[in-house]
Symmetry: C2
Subunit: 592 residues, 2 copies
């Protein structure tokens, strides 16, 4: 069904595009004052992804013939989406509007903000992407990893820059968020000023990461902000987010006191943390090995651009570790989430070429566990303990600070900016609701708090904002291998069904003329029962098939759908009775 | 492979059993003093389940011709075990020893301690099960729910009782653990005194739950305990576990202040919590509705036995709620873990016959989230927020206290009991290691701390204890529908494979004499791609199959395994090239 829609949309899209082109040429003749509201035009704000989940962030601002996009992220799949690599926003509402897109503004380099770029840029007509040099370098690197990647148009900005994008004027403010050069956006639109925080926390300490530009934020309080879109990721957590500087002394202690090697597992993209760990290692004269493809890549990029300060002799190759005493070695690597192919897992499974755990090693999990990964992380820890390592994780000691503002921080921000309208973004529906309550407690009129679903259109004039009940398509688009959007809900349901109880193929070869079975029906099953050990059930099932087919005559039957349905239903029922399992039954009738 | 082993074991088992019977008859003639160590006999302690996971707890004590079992629990499956209902201990090492089993001692009524009973009692020869009246009632109720359940021999004990079980003498001490009548065991064996805590926390307050009998525990300090087996579930958490009495005032506040109905989601088996909630409801003159099959059953059982105090007019039927003001209604139900068919999920999905969420409802999640359930719980909360309910969960307010002792509690217990040997049990390997460190810090000689894997045999004489390197089989036994142990690793691997990338059946009908294809090869795929939308790929695959079969002649080929392998490999490779997915390829050759 999903697929069918997709095809129809593509057809519409092609028709419309030529129409737009004609109009664009015509319009060249009459210059327009983009700075003012024109007639009935309203500013539309549509969150296409990230308002019913954590991930696949994408927001659209549209006014008249201009449109800008904020972020283009991916989401990691849920456990009931087997085989899916990730989920990206559905951009079908932008088809036919490519000519209007004046730019894509990326707030920072995490996958939930940049991850859909390789999959969607071609369909978006490849507009210019604006972001910091570091974020753009990470985008470019990721693009390289995709075959057939579009040649991106990237324009680097500093937080002091001003970008004109059609009727929109975009300014930036730096925010602290575990990865350098994260920024929020201040967007002047014909109806008023819109502020989008991006992911942020209110960390004013500079510890490897860029601090939040609090002066710019404070100044917004006097600028009559029409609407604030703010990060809800940690809204359910009361209090204040920890500062990275608060965990520095714990990291220092661990690194200083380790009697053997220290192995630090973290996210490759937590570049702020990476800087802290390197600073601590240098303080105690330890050499640092960086391991893991994404970790190495990110460190190289950030170092080349000056966002990571590393002394000349600090980094060594993994092959040179034997030249130093064990307590002078720190290995920083990926895999603290228990990811299958990441470094920590390979070490634990003894599949790492150059590294194995030794008694005396101290292994630190310096990132919180992403929901859904708890069990793999537990298995990983068990393996590491088994090898005799000391394992330290964030529940035992503060070795992780989150990247998102918590309840009190969020309230503080709203109090500073004093927007007329408040739009919680980036989080599950319940996070947005909790954030809405926080906004109300910060004095925002509850009528002016718009909790939008993905795809739900918000409309603003310079005196009012409305959450309409109009919705554009915003359902999941699955990326699986090379396919984008070709895994439909049907395919997914089949996968779930086969995962739960397996499947059985029933093959009956019959004579077209007589309907007689040419040979015994073949049964092939996978994931259901081990057939060699269940000969009795197999034989009973075969007999059941034979009795179903006894009265079948292909010449007199209208089509074979009827007999297939009958096999599917009766064999399904029979097997459930015998086993209380519901394998998928696939009947195949071969007429010869 | 698993299956093959199983069959072999069954055969051995039958042979041995008759042998044992003969011996048992012979032995009747000479009475034996069970109280003293005989010759070379050693006490064997084997943890069959629960030492590499949380769940499927089962421990065996064996001495000479006597054997007792502690607990018989199930484990819930991991996310990479699709379709599995649960995992139970592997009891193949007990086959042939049924005649030696002098009793099964169950510490409390949670599924990870009683859940394997319906599946394993027949194979164990149906020995007497000893436990509290409440636990036995829960076991009996569960047994009823299984067709073909064995008729169990249940013997109720109080914590003041003494049970002789062959050479073992078993005494009990009450422990606090979220469900009444939980107990630890003090077992006099011919080589010394063994203490098993069961699941416990050191809660000395009586709040709906039975308090820990700390006097009995303290007395053990002078009784020269040989070995202590202690609950490691919360060993990784530093500090002390919260007391249930500490959360009572939060529950009181919520229940008192709710302006509409209160809906409390919790575990049906957290009977201590259930009592607290009922007490609070009564304090504020609210009526209580109990909903959910397991919740109702447990409340009935516990109330009938006097373990739940409920005033006569407190409970009302769900159909009578309209007779009371909304703020006088409290609904207690199952589903706080986001379980598919439990009450809260049915309410959220609007599938509940009598209940729907209304704005003004306060919904409380009064249990912590079991690892692996985070995402379903999140989806559940999102749906409830969407209906306009207030949602309160344990991260926002202390509405949950865990049932297990934390680091400092565990240390306290070891200091009280002062055992010669310490055996951490019940937890993942890393939990046991952390618990071992706690024991060392409490003064236990590290050489006397035995961290055993599942199945690893520990041997004790009255002067020494050894963790041997001998192991009995202790791998997972899967329960799936009616089948116990018939889902092997092969079946599971097939399910995982089909879940990830689906499967494709390739059917070629050929003439036996000539090897000619009778008709175009048939392709059937599920969970791979939606074939109707991918005609080109289907056509290319079909052509590929034809070209593979071109030179095949069934008359000259030794068998069809070769050509099937060829189709499997080449089609697999071809499809990966085209899609970067690896569906399972199932070739079927039909000769006519």
């Amino acid at each position: 069904m999903h697929k069918t829609k997709q095809t129809k949309r593509t057809i519409q899209f092609k028709r419309r595009r030529s129409g737009v082109r004609t109009r664009a040429v015509a319009e060249k003749k009459r210059p327009v004052d983009y700075g003012k509201a024109r007639g009935d035009d309203k500013l539309k704000i549509i969150v296409l992804g990230g308002n019913e989940e954590v991930g696949r962030n994408m927001t659209v601002l549209e006014y008249g013939r201009d449109l800008i996009i904020i972020d283009l992220g991916l989401q990691f799949p849920e456990e009931d989406m087997p085989g899916i690599d990730y989920i990206i926003p559905n951009i079908s509402c932008l088809k036919g509007k490519q000519q209007k897109i004046r730019g894509i503004f990326i707030t920072h380099g995490h996958y939930d903000h940049i991850g859909a770029i390789p999959h969607l840029m071609a369909d978006l007509g490849n507009p210019t992407i604006y972001s910091s040099d570091l974020t753009l370098a990470m985008i470019a690197k990721r693009q390289e990893d995709y075959k057939n990647g579009t040649n991106l148009k990237l324009q680097s900005v500093k937080t002091s820059d001003v970008i004109k994008a059609g009727c929109f004027t975009v300014r930036f403010f730096g925010v602290s968020h575990n990865i350098p050069t994260s920024m929020g956006l201040i967007i002047d639109t014909p109806v008023g000023k819109i502020v989008h925080t991006g992911d942020f926390k209110l960390d004013l300490n500079e510890t490897g990461d860029s601090p939040t530009e609090i002066d710019k934020i404070a100044a917004l309080g006097k600028q009559n902000v029409l609407a604030l879109l703010s990060d809800s990721t940690n809204a359910p957590q009361p209090g204040h987010q920890m500062s990275e500087s608060e965990i520095q002394h714990n990291l220092d202690d661990i690194i200083k006191n380790a009697s053997g090697r220290v192995i630090m597992g973290t996210f490759a993209s937590l570049l702020g943390r990476v800087q802290q760990i390197i600073l601590a290692a240098e303080k105690f004269h330890k050499k640092v090995v960086i391991d893991g493809y994404s970790m190495k890549t990110n460190v190289e990029i950030a170092r080349a651009l000056g966002y990571l300060k590393i002394k000349k002799d600090t980094l060594i190759s993994i092959k040179d570790t034997h030249r130093y005493p064990k307590n002078k070695i720190l290995i920083m690597c990926t895999g603290a989430q228990g990811e299958d192919r990441a470094v920590l897992m390979r070490i634990a499974n003894k599949e790492h070429k150059d590294l194995k755990v030794e008694p005396g090693d101290t292994i630190v999990f310096s990132s919180s566990v992403v929901p859904g990964n708890e069990r793999s992380v537990q298995r990983l820890k068990d393996s590491l303990y088994r090898e005799g390592a000391e394992v330290i994780h964030y529940q035992m000691m503060d070795v992780h600070a989150g990247g998102h503002a918590k309840g009190e921080d969020l309230k503080f921000l709203i109090n500073l900016i004093k927007p007329r309208y408040f739009i919680p973004v980036e989080g599950n529906h319940s996070f947005l609701r909790i954030h809405a309550k926080i906004a109300a407690s910060a004095g925002i009129n509850p009528k002016n708090i718009l909790v939008a679903d993905n795809g739900q259109i918000m409309e603003f004039t310079n005196h009012s904002g409305v959450l309409t009940d109009k919705k554009v398509v915003s359902d999941y688009v699955f990326v699986d291998g090379l396919g984008v959007g070709d895994v439909s809900n049907i395919v997914l349901r089949d996968r779930q069904m086969m995962a739960a109880d397996g499947m059985i193929v029933v093959i009956a070869t019959i004579r077209t003329r007589t309907g007689q079975l040419v040979q015994n029906p073949d049964l092939i099953s996978r994931g259901f029962i081990y057939m060699k050990e269940n000969k009795k059930l197999v034989e009973e099932t075969r007999n059941k098939v034979k009795s179903i087919l006894k009265d079948y005559n292909p010449k007199t039957s209208a089509n074979d759908a009827y007999i297939k349905d009958k096999i599917r239903n009766e064999i399904g029922r029979f097997l459930f009775q015998k086993t209380e399992r519901r394998p998928m039954v696939l009947p195949v009738i071969i007429e010869v």
